[in-house]
Amino acid sequence: MKNAISRNGLLLTAFAIICTAAVATVNQLTKPVIAEQEQIALLKTINQLIPADAYDNDIFSSCFIINDDLLLGKGQSQQVFIATKADKPVALMLETSTFRGYSGEIKLAIGIFANGKVAGVRVIRHAETPGLGDKIQTNKSNWIYSFNGKSYQKSQDAHWEVTKNGGDIDAFTGATITPRAVTLAVKDALIYFQKNSTKLFNQAPNCGAL
């Protein structure tokens, strides 16, 4: 009996070690590829927002982390990437999150030119209703492009709303909550940018190895 227990115990241990070793090996082998894939995906997003020929710095090494509970999503750390040409700031891309959508977090990447104009907005991830709220994706609808070129002025605060609530942004058919969440998130990000733009463009990179 005692023997059987110790034998079973040893066998289980052996299997646990073998399985863990297999997973660890695959993890080690795929780690660089995954990091590379993530970087490619990120660069794709960045270059959709800020044209690749508008900047000449190594945009990955300009990355740093910001957080602002009120404007950039409560409790979320967001990455910022700075684009410069000949050491002059051109634009930046910052991530922001909002929980005002229909289901959970909507994570956005927002490109902002140095003059405060929106270069573009893309959804990084969301869990909105397929067929309704997912029109914030570029492959479903052109809606998200309607932010391009817009900027924020305090006197025009009321215009940063969906038309239903008296603003300038047309919501798409069938959904108000999702476009409104995105609109307000972009507005908050622009407010954050206005408050901190000098600081943002002079921030030392601190994302670590990316």
Binding site: N3, A4, R7, N8, L11, L12, F15, A16, C19, T20, A22, V23, V26, N27, T30, V33, I34, Q37, E38, I40, A41, R125, T129, P130, G131, L132, N139, T173, G174
Partner: protein
């Protein structure tokens, strides 16, 4: 000690003399008669959740198929060496390790598909088909038969995923193979077919209730076909 820990002698479920007949029987069981998706109704959670497009359905189908074949093979290989009392935890460990490896590989090589399948890749671990086949078949049969059983059960499951995905994608957004390039690479984008164009998609088909309804129709259809064959005899 020996009597307790060693496995009883081989006890195949299928007592068929002819080797070819075994494979035929396994295919028949996996693809139709005992189809894991529409007869055993196993793994319904991923089945219903990710079949909103053909691409998603195929991605999960391939991952599940791979895990099923690999886990059946491994379980069959070690079936004489593991004591009965601890076989289940060992199966679970093997399956969990395999799924984690598949998840990492998909993350590395089919990045966008990995993002769109999300949580359902790790959830393959909890898919009852896999532990079910390990316990019911692979632990009692030789490696070749076990691997073939995994392949056929996986194909049966894949076929159901594919059918569900195709029907729901056509109903919901009027396309087929939308986004297939995330699975097979850019060259495959010519496969995307737009059957009709719509601005407001048919939501019911895209959402989980639609999955249940289409699934019900498929099961009814299968039963009707079986009934007809039965009556003809």
């Amino acid at each position: 000690m020996t009597s307790e820990t060693t496995q009883p002698s081989e006890a195949p479920i299928l007592v068929v003399e002819d080797n070819k007949a075994i494979y035929r029987e396994l295919s028949w069981q996996g693809l139709w008669k005992n189809n894991p998706g529409i007869v055993q109704l196993l793994g319904l959670c991923p089945l219903l959740a990710v079949t909103n497009t053909v691409t998603n359905a195929l991605g999960l189908a391939i991952a599940t198929l791979f895990v099923l074949v690999a886990s059946n093979t491994l379980v069959s290989l070690i079936r004489h060496h593991i004591p009965k009392a601890i076989r289940i935890p060992i199966f679970v460990m093997i399956i969990a390790a395999l799924v984690t490896c598949v998840q990492l590989l998909m993350n590395a090589f089919t990045y966008e598909l990995y993002l769109s399948l999300g949580i359902f890749i790790p959830l393959i671990v909890t898919n009852c088909i896999i532990i079910g086949r390990a316990e019911a078949f692979a632990s009692k049969n030789n490696v070749k038969h076990a691997a073939f059983d995994g392949l056929m059960m996986g194909m049966g499951f894949s076929a159901v995923l594919f059918a569900l995905g195709a029907i729901r994608e056509v109903l919901a957004q009027g396309t087929l193979f939308d986004g297939i390039e995330t699975l097979l690479g850019e060259w495959a984008s010519f496969l995307t077919i737009t059957l009709y164009h719509t601005d407001t998609s048919f939501l019911l088909a895209a959402l989980p209730p639609g999955a249940f309804i289409v699934m019900g129709v498929i099961i009814a259809l299968k039963n009707a076909i079986d009934h007809r064959i039965e009556n003809k005899k």
